[in-house]
C-alpha cells in the first residue's frame, strides 16, 4: 500500500466518524455544548442546548429564525401593543428604511451568540438605532432638538416595543399623582372578592377523608400537613393530584407541572414562559430518537440555581425548579412562597436588601394581620403580579403570573402592572431609573428625575396656546 493511499485511509477514518459525530449531535442531540458558536445571551442561555428551539430547521435563513422568535415572543409583543410591529416594516413604503435597518427580523437588533456586542435586553445594535427612522424628530418636537439618539431608550422616555406606560396621554393623565396612593390597588384581592359569590368551594376535607391507598398513607405528617392546607380546604383529596383522570388506577408519586396545570393552567403556562420554567416548555428537547437506539428523545432537564447567571446561594445549586420547589408539597403556604422561597436561592444585592426595605415592613404587617390583605409588598408582588386573561367565552380572569421575567426589562413595564398600584407615575419613573435605589430595594428616595412628564405637559400647553 502506497504512502498516499495510507494517508487517505487515515484521513477518512478520522474525518468520517468526526463528521458523523457532529452531524448526530446537530440532528439528534446529546452533549451539544461544543456546537455553541459563542456565549448565548442571558435570555436564552438556559435553553441553549435545545438548538432547534431557535434553529427550527437546518434549511432556511432569517425567516426560520424569525418564526422561532415569534413562536415564543409573538404573543407577549401583541399583548404589549408593540410600537414597532412587523407590518410597519413589511410595508413597501418603508423599503428604504429596512435597507438600512432591517427591522423585519428580530435578529437585526437581537443577534444571538454575540457576547461582545450584547447588552441589556439582548440588544446588539448601537444604542442610537432610533436615528435611522426618526432623524428629523427635532423638527416636529423642538424639545428633542439636539438630544443624542443614544438617550431615546435610556432616559425613561421611550421603548422600542412596549410604551404602554410612556405614551404622551398616559403621562398627562397621571402627571399630578401623589408619590403614594392613599389606598393601594390590590387587583387580585379585588377580583377574587368580586367573584366570591360565583366560586363554589366544596366541603373542607379533614385528615380522615384522605383517599390515598393505605400504602401511601403511612406518613401522618404528610396527611396532617395536607389536612391543614389550601387543597384540603377547597376539597382537593389525595387522588386529586396523585392520580390522573386518564389512568385513575396509577398512583403518581410526585405530581409535577403536568398535574398542577390541570387546575392551575394560567400559572403553569406562564411558569414555562419565565426563566424558572422555560426549560419545561413543550417542544424543547435535549435530544431526539435516533438510529439504532443510540439516541433517545429527552426533554431538557429542569433549571437549577447552580446554572443561573445571577448570584445564587451555594446550598441550592442543585435544586431542580418545578412547582414544588416554591410551593412545598402538602404545604402550599403562599406567604412562604412569596418571599422565603425566593430568598432561599437568590443571593444578589437587591434580594438581600429587601429585608431592610419599607416594602418588607409592609409585608410583615400584612402577614401579622395588622394590615389589609394584599397591602404587603413581597418579592412576588412585584415580580409575579396579577395578570389578566380571557377565557374562551370572553370572561375575564385574574391570576398571579408565574413568568417573573415578564415585567423585568425594560423596567418601565412595571409601571402599570406593579408600581402604579401604590405609587404615582413621576415617583415611579424616577425610582425605576435609579440603579442604586433598585439595588437597595427602594430604601430611600430616588436621586434621578425623569423629565418625560414635564415635557409632555409643556408640549400640551404649547399646543393649546398654539391652537388659540
Amino acid at each position: 500500500m502506497s504512502r498516499t493511499v495510507m494517508l487517505w485511509l487515515v484521513w477518512i477514518s478520522l474525518t468520517v466518524p468526526a463528521a458523523l459525530f457532529v452531524l448526530a449531535a446537530i440532528v439528534y442531540g446529546g452533549n451539544r455544548s461544543f456546537l455553541l458558536i459563542g456565549k448565548t445571551s442571558n435570555g436564552h442561555h438556559q435553553i441553549e442546548l435545545a438548538c432547534d428551539a431557535c434553529h427550527i430547521s437546518v434549511f432556511g435563513g432569517p425567516e426560520v429564525l424569525q418564526d422561532a422568535c415569534v413562536r415564543c415572543h409573538g404573543a407577549e409583543l401583541k399583548a404589549a401593543n408593540d410600537s414597532h410591529p412587523l407590518s410597519k416594516f413589511t410595508d413597501p413604503r418603508n423599503a428604504d428604511r429596512t435597507a438600512i435597518l432591517d427591522a423585519r427580523h428580530c435578529v437585526t437588533c437581537h443577534q444571538e451568540h454575540r457576547p461582545a456586542i450584547t447588552r441589556a435586553m439582548g440588544v446588539t445594535l448601537p444604542d442610537d438605532y432610533c436615528f435611522h427612522c426618526h432623524a428629523d424628530i427635532g423638527e416636529d418636537r423642538p424639545s428633542h432638538e439636539g438630544l443624542k439618539f443614544t438617550t431615546c431608550a435610556s432616559a425613561g422616555c421611550h421603548n422600542f416595543h412596549d410604551n404602554r406606560a410612556l405614551y404622551g396621554d398616559f403621562l398627562l393623565k397621571h402627571a399630578d399623582e401623589p408619590d403614594q396612593r392613599e389606598t393601594p390597588r390590590v387587583v387580585l384581592v379585588e377580583f377574587l372578592k368580586s367573584r366570591k359569590d360565583t366560586i363554589k368551594v366544596p366541603r373542607t376535607l379533614v385528615a380522615t377523608d384522605a383517599d390515598a391507598p393505605a400504602v401511601h398513607r403511612g406518613d401522618i405528617d404528610v396527611v396532617t400537613a395536607w389536612a391543614g392546607d389550601a387543597h384540603a380546604r377547597t376539597g382537593i383529596n389525595c387522588s386529586g393530584c396523585h392520580t390522573a383522570k386518564a389512568e385513575p388506577a396509577r398512583w403518581i408519586a410526585a405530581p409535577g407541572l403536568e398535574t398542577c396545570k390541570t387546575c392551575h393552567a394560567d400559572e403553569a403556562r406562564t411558569f414555562v414562559e419565565g426563566k424558572h420554567g422555560m426549560r419545561l416548555r413543550d417542544g424543547l428537547m435535549a435530544s431526539h430518537d435516533g438510529p439504532l437506539g443510540l439516541f433517545r428523545a429527552a426533554k431538557l432537564a429542569p433549571m437549577t440555581p447552580g446554572e443561573a447567571r445571577l448570584p445564587m446561594k451555594m446550598d441550592q445549586t442543585r435544586t431542580s425548579l418545578g412547582c414544588n420547589t416554591c410551593h412545598s408539597a402538602h404545604h402550599y403556604d403562599l406567604a412562604t412562597a412569596k418571599v422565603e422561597r425566593c430568598a432561599g436561592c437568590h443571593d444578589d444585592t437587591h434580594t438581600k436588601a429587601y429585608f431592610a426595605s419599607p416594602h418588607y415592613e409592609l409585608f410583615k404587617k400584612e402577614v401579622a394581620g395588622l394590615a389589609p390583605k394584599g397591602s404587603g409588598v413581597s418579592c412576588a408582588t412585584c415580580h409575579m403580579p396579577p395578570s389578566e386573561t380571557r377565557r374562551p367565552d370572553g370572561s375575564k380572569s385574574v391570576f398571579a403570573t408565574h413568568n417573573q421575567n415578564d415585567n423585568l426589562r425594560p423596567n418601565e413595564k412595571m409601571v402599570r402592572s406593579v408600581c402604579g398600584n401604590c405609587h404615582g407615575l413621576q415617583f415611579t419613573l424616577d425610582a425605576l431609573a435609579d440603579r442604586a435605589l433598585i439595588a437597595s430595594n427602594f430604601t430611600g428616595l430616588s436621586g434621578v428625575h425623569i423629565e418625560s412628564i414635564d415635557w409632555a405637559q409643556r408640549r400640551a400647553r404649547e399646543r393649546g396656546e398654539h391652537r388659540q
Binding site: L86, D91, P92, R93, D96, G464
Partner: protein
C-alpha cells in the same frame, strides 16, 4: 430527411414553448395585469371594499354611538379608556392583518395633514398622489414606483370626511396640523400597492 423532420419538429416545439412561456410571463408578471385582471381594476376593487367598510364603521358605529347616541367614545387609546378604536385605527389594523397574511398587496392611510407624522407621504408617488386626489376631487391617481428593488403599481384614492365625527375629531386633535376640515373634505388618501414582479 428523417433527421431534418426531427430538427424542424424540435425547433417548432421550442418556438411554441418560448411563445407560451412569454405569454404566461406577460400574464402573471411584469404586466399591468394581475391574473388576467388589469391592475387598476384590482386596485379599484380592493379600494371599493376598503372604502365601504371604512364608511360603514365611521357612520354606523363611531358617529352613531359617539356623536349621536353618546353611549361610548371612540379614542386613540381605546384599550385604556375602554372605548371604540378610531376609524383610522380600525383601517390600519386591517392593513396590518393583511400584511401578516399576504405579500400580494399592501395598503395604508396617509395624509398631507397627518396627526401622526409617520403617516405623511414618503415616496414621490405618495406625494404626487395625495396632492392630486386633494386637488381633483372624485379622481384617483395611478402610478408605478420601484421600492426596495421591486416594482409596484400604486393607486391613491381620496379619503373623504364622511361624517361629522371625522371632522370634529381631526380638527380638535392636539397634534393635527390642520383645524379647518369640513364634511366631505379630502382629509388624506388610501394608498394601495400591487407588486408587478
Amino acid at each position: 430527411m428523417k433527421r431534418q423532420t426531427v430538427r424542424v419538429a424540435a425547433a417548432a416545439l421550442l418556438a411554441s414553448g418560448v411563445t407560451a412561456a412569454t405569454a404566461v410571463h406577460a400574464q402573471w408578471f411584469g404586466s399591468k395585469e394581475s391574473k388576467g385582471i388589469p391592475l387598476q381594476q384590482v386596485a379599484d376593487m380592493l379600494h371599493a371594499v376598503m372604502e365601504s367598510d371604512r364608511t360603514v364603521y365611521t357612520q354606523r358605529v363611531v358617529n352613531r354611538l359617539q356623536n349621536e347616541e353618546k353611549v361610548i367614545q371612540a379614542d386613540e387609546h381605546f384599550m385604556d379608556k375602554k372605548a371604540l378604536p378610531l376609524p383610522a385605527q380600525m383601517f390600519r389594523f386591517g392593513a396590518e392583518k393583511v400584511a401578516e397574511k399576504t405579500k400580494s398587496f399592501s395598503y395604508s392611510l396617509l395624509s398631507l395633514w397627518p396627526v401622526n407624522k409617520q403617516n405623511a407621504p414618503r415616496t414621490a408617488v405618495e406625494k404626487d398622489g395625495l396632492k392630486f386626489v386633494a386637488d381633483n376631487k372624485g379622481k384617483n391617481y395611478y402610478g408605478e414606483e420601484t421600492l426596495g428593488g421591486k416594482k409596484y403599481y400604486t393607486a391613491v384614492y381620496a379619503d373623504v370626511a364622511v361624517s361629522p365625527a371625522c371632522v370634529s375629531c381631526h380638527n380638535a386633535h392636539a397634534e393635527t396640523p390642520r383645524t379647518d376640515f369640513k364634511l366631505d373634505d379630502v382629509m388624506g388618501g388610501v394608498v394601495i400597492r400591487l407588486p408587478m414582479n
